[in-house]
Amino acid sequence: MAASDEVPEQIRREARVVGLRRFHTPSLEAVERRRMQLWLLTAVLIVALSTGAALLSLWPARTWGFARPGTLRLGIVALSVAFCVYAIDKELHLRRLARLLIDERVLTAALTNRLRELTLLLEAGKAVNAVLDLDAVLDIILRSALELLGGRSGSVMLVEGEELVAACVSGNDPARGERVRLGEGIAGRVALSREPALIDGTVAGDGAVSPDRPVSALSAPLVHRDQVLGVLNVNAERGRRFTEYDLRALATFAEQAAAAVANARLYEAERRHVAELLELDRLKSEFVALVSHELRTPLASILAAGETAMMPAVRDEAMEELLDIIVRQSHRLAEMVEELLLAARLEAGEREVELQEVDAVALARVAAHDLGPSGRTVEVEGPEEAIVAADPDLLRRVLDNLLDNAHKYGAPPVRIAIEPGEEEVVVSILDAGPGVPAGERERVFERFARLRDTRRQPGLGLGLPIVRGLVEACRGRVWVEDAPGGGAAFRVALRAARVPAERA
């Protein structure tokens, strides 16, 4: 900047010398005019002096006192020489001034150009950072880059795994959504090397230059915090060749663009996260309402039965029924409280269990047998034993919950099928009900899934989430699929503790 400040000072000095005082910053045109004036004056003076000299020689030799012809002639010659020296000096200064002015113009043009670039960069940066929607950000980046460099078409490609995907395209090269493997093609190589590339048709990067492809193109990586987010590609207008200078401008712009892309992504992730949290919060509120309703129902029976039982004239048979109600509903309340606590403990990941060897077949038979008094029948199919690594209490609870589920939501016959394998034993609880729709199969294991249903089924809706928690505590997996022949098949895969003994 110091150098450019000096020039106008120099110009002002030269301008003063050649008499262009009125012009604070003289123009080339003014200098030219001055030069014309100078040479016109010179010509007029030379003509005048020459005429004088000629007249003097024609004049009859006479004595005019001190002004003898010889002296006059000498004077004319001296005047001519002096004026020539003056004119040449001025001419030199004028030339110098003209050169300086031309330099100044070039410099100003270059500065203007640079300023335009910087302004565009700044504006693009501002625009990009004012918008947080990723698609809008990509659009602004591409438009700004094309404007900045006078590009005809271009694209922003983003890294997705091992590929680059054209996320924003102007013109039709490449098509939106087109994928390129990292390291392949020009963009792929730029993404891998993190070095911007100037592509000239004569030395085509990938060797293939079709007529409709631009002859000159730029490609700059979008790198933010040492991570390649994508590549910004710009193709030149027809007849235009990009230079190293353009490449540097694009690389500078790409740095800013990368930061904007990263911000937009961060913001989108954050927005999604907040939406999830809000949804979770809403579900929790609803869950609290459901829980209080479900807890109140047995509590209402217990309290009302207790009050009625305390009335003075209750008949004995009525009293017996009232006490039955109190006991039954107390059990129900206790079960629900237990269920809530278990779900909370599982959610907190508190359940650390020591796995033991458990015979899944024996456990299933006991679970089926214990359902006998309730009138629910369960058939158990499988080998004579299948030893798994599990906690017997937890596994029993899993079976009870799944059997209860099968009777409540499915339809009889309900079966337990046990298939031992090399690594895993799969325990399946099958029913002949309507099954679980494909879209619901993951959701049924989520807490609060019940809330999205009709809410008409009594209970807290924690049965399956608890099952999943318990199975995972036993390092197993649980999922649901269609049972062969219809109905739901809830499958629990547990680690086989040892290969089942060969039996004759």
Binding site: L299, A300, T308, P312, A313, I325, Q329, P458
Partner: protein
């Protein structure tokens, strides 16, 4: 005498609560008929012509709101006492708008429920089971 006992239709899907309400109300001098879902409740209103309906809200088939709306559309519908574990102000308002006479929240005091039923009985001055004649002695007075 039996014809003089007011008839209460108990609509409740919870078996123990249904049993309990029947026991308590019959001990208190009411006749009862029962429904475990909304559709049955409407049928029994038509067939049995109860003097008052004791209505739960969370019911299968047709819920309590549906029953209230249906009853309001009828010319000679019995008064309804809602008895639900839902206790929000919004539910109370909605029930009142749909024509429910009283709203009792579960868990409830038996005495309060009985008072609520007696209050809405048509011509309750003539209701046969006044405080003194109640077998359980829980007529109008609040329980201790």
């Amino acid at each position: 005498m039996a014809g003089r006992r007011p008839l209460v239709l108990i609509v409740e899907d919870e078996p123990d609560m249904l049993l309990l309400l029947r026991l308590t109300l019959e001990e208190e001098g009411f006749d009862t008929c029962l429904a475990a879902d909304g559709a049955t409740a409407l049928r029994r209103v038509d067939e049995d012509r109860p003097d008052v309906v004791l209505l739960d809200l969370m019911l299968p088939v047709l819920d309590g709101w549906g029953v209230l709306a249906e009853l309001r559309a009828r010319r000679r519908a019995p008064p309804v006492v809602v008895c639900s574990a839902l206790d929000g102000a919004a539910e109370r308002r909605r029930a009142a708008e749909l024509g429910a006479a009283t709203y009792v929240t579960k868990p409830f005091e038996v005495g309060r429920l009985l008072r609520a039923l007696r209050e809405v009985l048509p011509g309750r001055g003539a209701a046969p089971e006044a405080a003194g004649r109640s077998r359980l002695g829980l007529g109008g007075a609040a329980p201790a």
